[in-house]
Amino acid sequence: MPAIETRPRRRTRPAARSLWTALPRQVAVIAWKDLRAEMRTKEAVNASFAFALVILLLFSFAFDPAEEQTRLISGGLLWIVFAFAGTLVLNRSFARELPNDCLDALVAAPVSGAAIFLGKALANFVLLTAVELVSLPVFGIFYNVRWTEQFWPLLLVVALATWGVTVIGTVFSALTVNIRLREVMLPLLVYPVLIPALMAAMQLTTALVAGEPLAGDLLAWLRLLVGFDVIFTALALLLMETVLVA
């Protein structure tokens, strides 16, 4: 080990910024770190994407793409695939902090639990959305659905439902990070809580891929999805500090 030079102390510590100016920067730093680490290994994204493709392919053998029934269940089928594939990404979110006790360094930094949660949720959202956007054309081909007909409303639904999955998954990823069977526990905890969001996403997706516009009764499902996201994001922001410092 080479000699460590000692130098006169230079004050590099700035005055603390206010929460609202510091928070977006801290969120971006944590999200960048998670995305960078994932891009280096690609372990979660590759597993998630491969899983989504395999399940979409297997289900396509079970249902006749020419039948109307297939189109009626397409939304449900798609979100089951997204939810299962999503847990593979979400499982890694806090597990990534375990080697070398990195979570200690993150918790020791002058960063709020809310910033850690938002940074990780943002990175998870990007990764999940990427997997979903690559899976959507495959879904369209295998199940003979015109998913581009209501593209922008469908994109809105995908974004809102993915944020819901991400928020719940990130919180439970933090809760289960020190549990030995966390790969098993995470889906068991996440899916029951996700039922309202998944129901709304399935109803909306089924209607949108059938070419229906986002109007009438569908707006009630959209409101449910927005409400779910707002309530659980607020709860996660409030509770994350307690979750991290048990």
Partner: protein, 233 residues
């Protein structure tokens, strides 16, 4: 001026088992407090409560007059635990810049490059940590802990798994930190190395403070002196 560390009546329970029992400890600014004790005495638990990683069941801890979870307290604190707390998938430079940004340093890249140079890692700054040797990883951990020039260093067995030369270098770095007026609280089993640096000593035994006081010449001459006089029989 407020105490660097003040621990008042701290209890910690794991289930019904009290891992810490009514701990009272203080460290003045500029002091070096060596926390000694057998395995399971509660040293790591106490350090983790001081660092804000864990909440005490009862009692309170203050760091420069603030609770450990306040951002201002954490900004003044550096922690070296059992793990190196750097990311294997990032390079040495990326790791330090990351923590420089989290600590809101004015120029994180410059601070990171300076510490890489000071710890002899400048030549591998862009190498991924997963490719580093054990010694290089430990040096990077030291750079991470010192990067934001903390006023208080909390160290959990910092000399463990270091070779003789690395211990000497870490001691020199810690001596320099003390000369600059920083406070150090370290738990250790390496009594000789710790007592050479320490200004104060606290012996934990079964979750209680069995002894606390200034480090004396007797302790330096015989590192087992505290155990012999205040430890369990």
């Amino acid at each position: 001026m407020s105490q660097a560390v003040a621990v008042e009546g701290v209890w910690k329970f794991y289930g019904d088992f009290p891992a810490l029992r009514d701990i009272q400890l203080r460290a003045e600014p500029g002091a070096c407090l060596a926390l000694i004790g057998r395995n399971g005495a509660g040293k790591t638990t106490l350090l983790r409560i001081m660092a804000g990683f864990s909440q005490p069941g009862r009692g309170r801890v203050s760091i420069f007059g603030r609770t450990p979870r306040e951002a201002e307290a954490r900004r003044r604190m550096g922690f070296i635990g059992h793990g190196i707390s750097v990311y294997d998938e990032l390079s040495a430079l990326e790791n330090l810049v990351l923590f420089g940004r989290l600590y809101d340093l004015p120029d994180p890249r410059r601070a990171a490059e300076e510490w890489l140079e000071r710890t002899g890692l400048a030549h591998v700054r862009d190498g991924l940590v997963r490719e580093f040797s054990r010694g290089m990883r430990q040096r990077l951990a030291v750079a991470r802990a010192f990067l934001h020039e903390p006023d208080l260093l909390l160290m959990d067995e910092p000399f463990t798994a270091l070779d003789d030369r690395a211990i000497a270098v870490l001691q020199s770095l810690l001596r320099h930190a003390l000369a600059e007026g920083r406070t150090i609280v370290m738990s250790t089993h390496q009594l000789r190395e710790a007592l050479e640096l320490a200004t104060d000593v606290a012996l934990l035994s079964r979750g209680r403070v069995a002894f606390t006081g200034e480090r004396t010449a007797e302790m330096l001459a015989d590192p087992g002196w505290v155990y012999a006089h205040y430890g369990e029989s």
